[in-house]
């Protein structure tokens, strides 16, 4: 086929383009993901009974601040990574920030407690449930995010996949926080932070296959 033929084919007729900003598509994925995760937690696990209690609310605010920070940073990165060359115009390293803050707070928390309590503070009561729930709840938000990124044209598929995973893990952990009764920061650091990172790893592994165009 002559390249001229292809150019004729592409430039004949209406060449106007849908100019809906791509960030809207990412925004739609954020909403779909968050709603799906909330529904999952509400109907399968149930919200924690002491949501109205002020002590629980304090811890909940901390957990939510961490997970929301991850979600906001990741979705911002995704709007960049979904465009060709976007990986050059952004600093994905920023995403480390919420993890560093929660880990630092967790360490401070540990340092004020006697070493005999450390294991209980880290392991908590529901580590296994947390380890399983967050990646499972993340599946629908992950699918929604991949759909949104595919609408664009990412040129670093591994990184875009990793951030999509991070985003999905963050949304999932945000919803899971409304159920989980383990409130101590060392627990949150290891099990929330750890499972979100697992989601990011899964995203990095799947990205090159799912996002190819």
């Amino acid at each position: 086929m002559k390249t001229e033929e292809l150019l004729d084919l592409l430039s004949t007729g209406d060449v106007g383009v849908d100019r809906t900003p791509h960030s809207w598509t990412i925004g739609a994925a954020v909403v779909i993901g968050a709603v799906a995760a909330l529904i999952g937690v509400a109907f399968v696990l149930g919200f924690r009974p002491d949501l109205a209690d002020s002590r629980a609310a304090g811890f909940l605010v901390l957990k939510l601040s961490f997970t929301i920070a991850v979600v906001v940073l990741a979705s911002f990165l995704l709007t960049k990574l979904a465009r060709p060359g976007g990986e050059r115009r952004t600093r994905p390293i920023l995403i480390v920030l919420p993890f560093a803050v929660i880990a630092a707070l967790g360490l401070v928390n540990l340092s004020f407690a006697p070493p005999a309590h450390w294991e209980a503070m880290i392991v908590g009561d529901q580590w296994l449930e947390c380890l399983l729930s967050i990646p499972l709840i993340a599946i629908v938000p992950f699918a929604a995010t991949i759909w949104a990124v595919r609408k664009g044209a990412p040129t670093n598929l591994r990184l875009a996949g990793a951030v999509a995973g991070l985003f999905a893990g963050g949304v999932s952990a945000m919803a899971y926080a409304l159920h989980c009764m383990d409130d101590l920061l060392p627990f949150v650091t290891v099990w929330y932070g750890g499972t979100i990172l697992l989601c990011a790893l899964a995203g990095a592994a799947l990205g090159p296959r799912l996002l190819r165009w």
């Binding site: 086929m1 390249t3 592409l10 209406d14 060449v15 106007g16 791509h22 465009r83 664009g152």
Partner: protein
């Protein structure tokens, strides 16, 4: 790649607003840049320069299909370069095994490729069109090859005007996918 930026960007902005002449000019200019880019990259990678035109067409189609991801406030050249590079890496990866016996001929390929300016790929458009479902092919042939209006195409293909547009969009996407598959060498 610095001097043409202003001019190319102007063409791109006009093309995004639906100016078909600007769109044609833009794709034509870009295919020239892409040809030079792919020839030099393929030669340096020890690959056959003859594959350059397949890549040019693949990249032009990608630029056409993904032009909504260009941010009009940003310079155009880095955006084009990112797509060109992405398609090159993809091509090098999927043809890795089949071309391990080529490097020795590479130097010859450069001289052989340089004087052949006939920009033709190994792809057969008519055959690729055959692979498309009937409704998509009909819409593309009517509007894109025969230059009919969307309304005329709708009447001829027996579908609504909006599905003509959808069929063209999906058809071109399928075409891009089968071009990528065909140039697997």
């Amino acid at each position: 790649m610095i001097s043409p930026e202003t001019e190319l960007r102007k063409l791109m902005l006009a093309s995004l607003d639906g100016n078909a002449v600007a769109h044609r000019a833009l794709l034509s200019r870009l295919s020239g840049h892409l040809r030079a880019y792919y020839r030099s990259k393929l030669a340096r990678a020890g690959r056959s320069v003859g594959d350059a035109e397949d890549l040019v067409q693949e990249a032009v189609l990608a630029i056409h299909l993904k032009r909504h991801t260009y941010d009009p406030t940003e310079p155009l050249t880095p955006w084009v370069h990112a797509i060109a590079r992405f398609k090159l890496i993809d091509f090098l990866r999927r043809t890795r095994r089949s071309t391990t016996d080529l490097p020795i001929d590479a130097a010859e390929d450069v001289t052989a490729g340089d004087d052949r300016s006939g920009a033709e790929s190994s792809l057969d458009l008519a055959r690729l069109m055959e692979l498309l479902p009937e409704k998509m092919r009909c819409s593309i042939v009517a509007v894109k090859l025969d230059g009919r209006s969307v309304a005329e195409a709708a009447a001829r293909c027996g579908v609504s005007e909006s599905s003509v547009k959808i069929n063209i969009h999906r058809g071109l996407k399928r075409l891009a996918a089968s071009i990528a598959k065909e140039s697997r060498a």
